[in-house]
Structure formats: structure tokens, C-alpha cells
């Protein structure tokens, strides 16, 4: 599944970039994340409880790693999530651009989804992916204010 979209932050580029290195703020980018802790360097692990429409309270163990960091322009986020309802595995390439005092994030995620969520939820995967990423970024934006 490919999710390609943009988000305009009400903060400048360095703030957005720095914020996303902070696990507490990064956690907001993944809606439902309950805990996210540094494992080592820019590798994080935690737990996420996802509720979207028919999916309620699906627990996932998540891992996140930020790589190819080019401050304050771009990075790649490797994400993995695993739970009883299935798994998600993939990467998101993130680019930050100045928009005056604001910052535009352009992202493209390529996610493999497996297990039950994929086999019975295909109709909604695209929308859920898009909606969750936007919801997450909105929450990050709020944190950055």
C-alpha cells in the first residue's frame, strides 16, 4: 500500500524536524501509540492501540527507526507493527520544505500490510492509511505549538 500525501505544519522547519526526533512527539504521529521509548539512537519501540471504524482497540507492538537523516530536510522512517489483527511493515520517505513561517511535509509511505486487517479490510486500507497519517500529523502539529 502506498500512501502519498502532504501536511502543512504551523511551525517552522527546524522545529518540526527537531520535534520528530523526540519520541514523545514522534509517538503522536502514530495515532493510538501509548508508549514509545528509545531503544538505541533513533530506534524506538512501544505499544499502539488502534481504533478506526470497525477496528476497535487492536493492540500492536510498534517499532520505529529514523534513518538517512538530513537535518532539517528529510529522513526515512522504518515502521513495523505486529499484533493479533495482523502486521504492518514498511518505510516512509519524508521531506520537509519551508513555506514561509510554516513547514510543508511531503511524505510517501510504502507499507506492507498482512494478516486479518489485510485480508478482510482491503476496502478501507487506503482511506485508513491516509486518515491515520493526517490525524497523526495534526496531533504532532498541536504538540509543537
Amino acid at each position: 500500500m502506498i500512501i502519498q500525501s502532504e501536511y502543512l505544519f504551523d511551525a517552522d522547519r527546524p522545529t518540526v524536524y527537531a520535534g520528530l526526533q523526540n519520541p514523545e512527539i514522534l509517538a503522536r504521529a502514530l495515532p493510538g501509540t501509548q508508549t514509545l521509548e528509545i531503544v538505541e539512537g533513533t530506534r524506538y519501540a512501544g505499544e499502539m492501540v488502534v481504533s478506526v471504524g470497525p477496528v476497535t482497540a487492536a493492540r500492536f507492538e510498534v517499532s520505529v527507526e529514523l534513518t538517512d537523516l538530513v537535518e532539517p530536510e528529510s529522513f526515512t522512517m522504518l515502521v513495523g507493527g505486529k499484533g493479533k489483527a495482523g502486521f504492518v511493515d514498511g518505510r516512509a520517505d519524508v521531506r520537509l520544505e519551508d513555506r514561509g513561517a510554516q513547514c510543508l511535509m511531503v511524505y510517501k509511505a510504502d507499507l506492507g500490510v498482512g494478516g486479518r486487517v489485510a485480508s478482510v479490510g482491503q476496502r478501507l486500507l487506503d482511506s485508513v492509511g491516509k486518515a491515520m497519517s493526517q490525524r497523526g500529523l495534526k496531533a504532532v502539529d498541536r504538540m509543537l505549538q
Binding site: M1, K84, G112, V113, G114, A118, S119, V120, Q122
Partner: protein
């Protein structure tokens, strides 16, 4: 008025009362005291190393009785048998890897069973499934047929150096030299995707171990109860006579239920013996999309060479066939494709090669049609393309290439799936084509109807294609017929029944020689305690192989009836006739005796019999044909396309079919209707969509679209009768016929509707989304 039960009459079905009133027994109707319920832990990953399976939390859940992973099975863990070894084809490399009861070390497709939970209820069993911790280290999945053979493809079976499961070449004549001066060659790549068999009833098993009698009873939704019994007895170390397999009423088989042994089939009987309690497992719809075998993924690169009159000089085909993660069914599917491609045509030169490949997808075994669709699709599409190039009428190019009625038996000089040479027994193809052309109003369609639709802004097209179907393969089946003292007749045969109307057509075959009505014949199928020789219901063989055995047994009983009656009535056998359940002396209505009385006489309780006398009016007979018989037909369609929404609507559907002698035309039509529905699904709706991770994206009936009653049109049928010389009844099979040519038919009709600038339709199924892409001029999208 009672309907006639004569062979050939549309006798009303004996089984319908039970089916329609809900009194027929299905596996899930079996309720036994103390019965436990089973659920399986299945892999979320298509390919991975199985690091650990931790059952402790599951075992701790109240109500859980047992839980097993592969290691808990000890010596009982063993890969399944190679069900169908490859036929003795000269140029054939074959490597076999068969399914395992529970994954050990590695998982090879999504949904592969990893652990088995036994609990007081299915609810608790599924709660426990959620508590099992499975640690899988993902490996790169092999998600496509073409990808399987890539240099860098992950290997699915470590013992082999590639994912190639077989490489087979069959050749007739010499394609290269014979086509050197061909007027035209058409070459294309054709794709057919995967589908599910989607029976109304999923699989299910109940196993009961009676320790005192040392007897195992298994209710199983199998199409092959006898081989299941024999195999299980062997695996479990029991005498065959102490294992009873019952295949009761089954809500549709369509092929996958002939597969053996499914992991669940091996595990439940074993665990029932371990736990000394009856066990039940009913496959749910979601599991069925992974755990029941599937079919149809193939990619053909095919070339047809014709002379300037459109006569076939030869065909060259090279194809890939997906067998999924394991290949227990050997080469049946690709060989069916290879052989059926030749169709009703005279193809003097043929070169056909295929590679069977392993992928990280559920196992492939035959599904109604079993590879025949693919051959028909390729050949019919090539003929359409050639006809267009030559400016020939599409019906005419078929007519010119038909094998003439005096060409039979016709030897195609290659081997068929039954290991016998592909020899057509009989056929008469032109009358079927003419009949179909007439029924679909072909001439008027081209000259008047289509232009009139066009003038009204409607996009309407016609399709017409021919096909053959190899049916009625061996080895053999048997039947036992008994006249009871109440005058009713009991017929037992080994094949299982999944809705084919066996209780009626077999009854008719027995009723006629014994002078009773079909309603007076009680048919028993699929219970090894009643009949234990035979193989099963598959390959459109029930009527041909079991049917002829039923008929032979009835004739033998008829002989006994007449002999016994001759004694009783003190008449000469040649003066006797059987009618209305009685034997009469011809012309002397008072000299009569009922079948029931004769049965009593044939089984005296006191006194003496002539030494050597066999008791009862009973006989057992077997029938095994020399080889399969070849049915054939023509389908025609008129369909309408909404160019804006890419929706397709079927306006008319015509089937002209030749399955030799028809036992019951109503049942034959029912088989054809069901087949066409299945074919419409394969052509237009049904596709198992796997993503790059070999994850199935539509494992529910919300997204896997089976045509419903409103999507299947009224089907107009007609019969041509060309008896088979290979069996006394002259019958041929019909079970798969309806499903086989539909993809090719749709493709042709869509092109015809869209007119001169139509995109080529070279794949099936053909969804609106795909049609939209083609209409947008984006064939590679």
C-alpha cells in the same frame, strides 16, 4: 401422475425433499456426546522461519483441553502423500513437496496451520488461538508466478535449487517445419488469475474413536471417502475395516474436497484417539480462503499458425502454472490445460511446454474445469485473432478446423492426465455450432440487431466459442444393488455426493432394468461401511464410471430376479417381463410375483438350496473405462457494455452441449447452469487478489465476488447426442462443462461489442476496473 423414471427422463430428484426440508445430514449436523471443538492457529506471514510456538497461555485458558504444535505430533508428523504422481511423459522433470500437518521450521503460505487447539467450545478454542504466541522471522515472499523463477527469488523448499516444481514438454508432429510457410502466425501472452472454489458448505470433520470396539468413525466433507479411509487406517495403524469414513450430504465440492490429505483430516482422527473424545472442526469462511486449495493462475505465451484459408497448421505454447506452496496433486492441472487447448480442432502439429512453479500462496489443486479453462481460453482467443487478421467469420474459422465426425477415435498423440493417450472417443461438432448459431440468432445479429443497438447508442456484442471436456476418467468405481423383501431396491456406491443429483440419476439407471420407479431406489453414497471400493467424485466421472457400475450391477440383479421368478412362476425366463415392481409372464396377467416376494424366496430361512446358490437378489459390479470420454459443446452470449461505467450486462446465454446419452436432462441442465455460473464468476467477478507480500486481500465474500442469482442470466440449453463407445450406457461427463469456455466467450463478446478499435482482451477475469483501463487505452496498467 408419477413421472417416468426411465433412463433419459427428467425424473424429479429423490434427494430434494431432504435437502429442502433441512433434514439432510451435513457434517456440522453431527452432534456427539462429549464432543470437543477444534480451531487452528494459522500463519499471518506468507513466508518465514518459524522460530517458536508458545502454547502455554492457551493451555492455561479454562475450557482448553489440548494444544498441539508440530513437535507435539512426534512420529505422526509427516508430509502428505503425493496424490497424483506424474504420468509417464518422456520429457518430464518433476519435484514434489507435499503439505504438512502443522508447519515446522518454516511457514510457506498465509493461513498455513501452525497449531491446533482443542476446547470445550469453538468460542473458547478461538479465544485460545488468540493467546498462542507465534514467533516468525519473515522471509521474502514469492508472490507471483513469474517472480518464482527469478534469479534472486527466495527458495520455498530448501531441498530444491529453484522454485520450479516441474518442466514438461509434449509434442505432436513438428511445429517448426510444418509452419515454416504459414500464411499467418498470431502470438500473444494470456493470463488467468486465481479463484476459490467457494462452496456453500466449507470443509468439516468430525472424528470419533470408540475404544471398546477399536473403531474410528469420521464424518468428512470429502469427495473421496474410500481413499481417505484407507490412508487414515494406514497412518493410524488400524485395520481398514475398523475405520469408517462417512461423506454425508455435502454443500458443493468443486474439486478441492478431493484433495487429500488436508492437515485437519489427518489431525482430528489422531487427536480424537489421543484424547478419547469426539472432535469437531468446521472450517469457517475466512479459513476457507487459505486452508482450502485453489486454482487457476497461469501465464501462456502461445502462437497459432494457419494457412490462408484459416486452417490450423500448428500451435506452439509455453506456459507457467502456479502450484502454490506445495504440489500434492502433481501435474493434473497443467496437463489438462495442455490437452484441452487442442479443443474440437484438428491440430496436426503441437509443441507445448510448461513449468509448474512453487509460490508462497495456498496450494493449487483442481477446481471445476481444472486447467481446461486455460487451454480453451488460449485456443479460442488465438482463433479469434487469426479470424480477424484473415477477415474470416469467427464461426467459419472454427467450422473449418473441426475434427469431422469420421475422424474418431482421434489420437492427439500426447498423454492425458489419466496417463492414457489423449484419444477422443467420439464427437460431432458442427451440428452443435449450427444449433448455437441458430439459437443466438447469429446471422440476424450481425446484419440487423447489432447495427440497431449501435444506432440507439448501445454497445452490444456477441460471442461464440467451442470447447471439449475430457471426462469420465478411470480407474474404476463399483456399485452394489440389492432387492429388499419390501420390494424397494438399495443401491450403494463408493463415490461421494456434493449436489450432483446422484440419488436420482443413479436410481434411474437401476430402476429401469428392475422395473421399479426411481423413487423406489434408496441410494447410499460415500459411506465406507456400505461400499469400500472406488476412488471418488471428480473429473466429471460420476455418471460415466459409477453410473455404468450401477447399471451393470442392476443388470446382474435383473438376471437373478428373472431366474428366481422363472422358478417361482414355473415359466421360461424369456417369457418374463419386469414391470411395476413385479415379474409377469407375458400375456398372462395372473401369473405374477412381486420383487419383494422374490427377494424373500432368494433368502430362505429353512430348508435346503441347490449347492452353489448365492443368497439374495444382490449383485456387485465394477466399471473401469479404457480411458476418458470427450464431451463437447458450444456456448454463445450476447452482452451489453456500459462504456461510461465499464459495467457488463448479459442479455442472452446459450449452451449447446453434447455429453453423449443423457440420463436425466433436468440434472444435466442443472449441472450446466451451475457450471456457467461458476464460469461467469471466473470470467468476470472472481479473483483472489494477492499483494506483493503474497497476502490475500479479499478473504471474505464481501470482497471475493461470487455471482449471485441476479448476476446469472437465464440460460437456454440444447443437447446433441453423440454416444461414447467406451461405456455401455454411452454417457459422457457434464460436471465441469458449463464452467470451461466462459472466459473465452466473454473476451470475444467484449471485443465484438466494442467494435473495430476494441482493445484485445487477453486475460481473465475481466473486471470493470480492468475494462476501464483498457477503454482508457492503458493495456499495461
Amino acid at each position: 401422475m408419477t413421472r417416468s423414471s426411465a433412463i433419459g427422463a427428467a425424473t424429479r430428484r429423490n434427494e430434494d425433499h431432504r435437502l429442502l426440508t433441512g433434514t439432510a445430514l451435513y457434517v456440522d449436523d453431527v452432534h456427539l456426546e462429549g464432543m470437543l471443538h477444534v480451531a487452528f492457529v494459522r500463519s499471518d506471514y506468507a513466508h518465514g522461519l518459524l522460530r517458536d510456538v508458545n502454547l502455554s497461555a492457551a493451555l492455561a485458558l479454562p475450557g482448553v483441553i489440548a494444544a498441539y504444535a508440530a513437535d507435539d505430533l512426534g512420529d505422526y508428523w509427516s508430509p502428505g502423500p503425493l496424490l497424483v504422481p506424474p504420468p509417464p511423459i518422456e520429457r518430464c522433470e518433476f519435484r514434489s513437496a507435499t503439505q504438512v500437518p502443522l508447519a515446522k521450521d518454516k511457514v510457506r503460505h498465509v493461513g498455513e496451520a501452525i497449531a491446533m487447539i482443542v476446547a470445550e467450545s469453538r468460542y473458547i478454542a478461538e479465544d485460545a488461538v488468540a493467546l498462542v504466541e507465534v514467533d516468525i522471522e519473515p522471509l521474502p515472499p514469492v508472490a507471483t508466478t513469474e517472480g518464482a523463477l527469478a534469479e534472486d527469488a527466495a527458495r520455498i523448499h530448501d531441498q530444491f535449487d529453484s522454485n520450479q516444481a516441474a518442466h514438461v514438454v509434449q509434442e505432436k508432429g513438428n511445429y517448426e517445419t510444418a509452419t515454416a510457410n504459414a500464411a499467418l502466425r498470431v502470438k500473444r501472452r494470456f493470463r488467468m488469475d486465481r479463484g476459490a472454489s467457494a462452496p456453500m458448505e466449507n470443509r468439516g470433520i468430525v472424528a470419533q474413536w470408540d475404544e471398546r470396539c477399536a473403531e474410528l468413525t469420521i464424518w468428512d466433507t470429502t469427495q473421496a471417502p474410500i481413499p481417505i479411509r484407507n490412508g487414515l487406517a494406514h497412518m493410524l495403524g488400524l485395520p481398514e475395516t475398523h475405520v469408517r469414513v462417512i461423506a454425508p450430504f455435502i454443500g458443493g465440492g468443486f474439486g478441492p474436497k478431493i484433495m487429500m490429505f488436508y492437515p485437519e483430516e489427518v489431525l482430528l482422527p489422531w487427536a480424537a484417539m489421543q484424547l478419547k473424545r469426539p472432535l469437531k472442526w468446521i472450517e469457517d469462511r475466512q479459513e476457507s480462503f487459505f486452508a482450502t486449495t485453489q486454482e487457476r493462475e497461469q501465464i501462456h505465451d502461445a502462437e497459432l499458425a494457419v494457412d490462408s484459408d484459416g486452417r490450423i497448421l500448428g500451435v506452439r505454447d509455453s506456459f507457467l502454472c502456479d502450484t502454490g506452496a506445495y504440489n500434492p496433486y502433481g501435474l493434473t492441472v497443467p496437463i489438462n490445460s495442455q490437452c484441452t487447448l487442442l479443443g474440437p480442432y484438428d491440430v496436426p502439429n503441437y509443441w507445448s511446454e510448461f513449468q509448474l512453479v512453487f509460490t508462497n500462496k495456498p496450494i493449487v489443486t483442481p477446481v471445476r474445469g481444472a486447467g481446461r479453462q486455460h487451454g480453451v481460453f488460449v485456443m479460442e482467443r488465438l482463433l479469434d485473432l487469426a479470424a480477424a487478421e484473415l477477415g474470416l467469420d469467427r464461426a467459419e474459422i472454427r467450422r473449418r478446423n473441426f475434427l469431422p465426425p469420421d475422424a474418431f477415435p482421434h489420437d492427439h498423440e500426447i498423454l492425458y492426465q489419466d496417463f492414457a493417450p489423449l484419444v477422443y472417443d467420439s464427437g460431432n461438432y458442427e451440428p452443435a455450432l449450427d444449433k448455437a448459431l441458430e439459437m443466438i440468432d447469429y446471422d440476424r445479429f450481425e446484419s440487423d440487431l447489432q447495427p440497431a443497438y449501435q444506432a440507439n447508442g448501445r454497445t452490444v456484442g456477441l460471442g461464440i466459442v467451442s470447447y471439449v471436456e475430457g471426462t469420465g476418467v478411470g480407474p474404476y468405481e463399483g456399485a452394489r444393488v440389492t432387492v429388499q423383501t419390501d420390494g424397494r431396491v438399495c443401491l450403494a456406491t463408493g463415490v461421494g455426493t456434493q449436489g450432483q443429483g446422484h440419488f436420482t440419476s443413479f436410481a434411474q439407471l437401476v430402476a429401469e432394468p428392475l422395473g421399479v420407479s426411481a423413487a423406489e431406489v434408496d441410494v447410499i453414497t460415500g459411506d465406507t461401511s456400505h461400499f469400500n471400493w472406488g476412488t471418488g467424485t471428480f473429473a466429471s466421472r460420476g455418471a460415466v464410471v459409477a453410473g455404468n457400475a450401477c447399471y451393470a450391477a442392476a443388470l446382474a440383479v435383473r438376471g437373478k430376479v428373472l431366474a428366481t421368478a422363472a422358478q417361482a412362476l414355473e415359466a421360461d425366463e424369456s417369457d418374463l417381463e419386469i414391470e411395476g415392481g413385479c415379474v409377469n409372464v407375458r400375456g398372462e396377467p395372473d401369473r405374477t410375483i412381486s420383487l419383494g416376494d422374490l427377494a424373500a424366496r432368494a433368502n430362505p430361512l429353512r430348508g435346503a438350496v441347490t449347492p452353489g446358490t448365492e443368497p439374495g437378489l444382490e449383485a456387485t459390479a465394477y466399471f473401469g473405462p479404457e480411458r476418458g470420454s470427450t464431451a463437447s459443446g458450444v456456448h454463445a452470449i450476447v452482452l451489453e457494455i456500459d462504456r461510461e461505467t465499464a459495467q457488463v450486462d448479459i442479455l442472452r446465454y446459450v449452451v449447446v452441449h453434447d455429453c453423449g446419452k443423457v440420463i436425466n436432462p433436468m440434472i444435466v441442465e442443472g449441472q450446466i447452469h451451475g457450471g456457467v455460473a461458476h464460469g461467469i464468476g471466473n470470467a468476470f467477478y472472481e479473483e483472489l487478489v494477492f499483494d506483493e507480500g503474497a497476502q490475500l486481500m479479499n478473504a471474505s465474500f464481501m470482497d471475493y465476488l461470487v455471482p449471485t442469482a441476479t448476476d446469472v442470466p437465464h440460460i437456454e440449453t440444447a443437447h446433441i447426442t453423440t454416444p461414447s463407445p467406451l461405456n455401455p450406457l454411452g454417457v459422457k461427463g457434464v460436471g465441469e462443462a458449463g464452467a470451461i469456455p466462459v472466459g473465452a466467450l466473454f473476451a470475444q463478446a467484449i471485443e465484438n461489442a466494442l467494435g473495430a478499435d476494441a482493445p484485445e482482451v487477453l486475460e481473465m477475469p475481466h473486471s470493470p476496473n480492468r475494462l476501464f483501463e483498457l477503454l482508457q487505452g492503458d493495456p499495461d496498467a
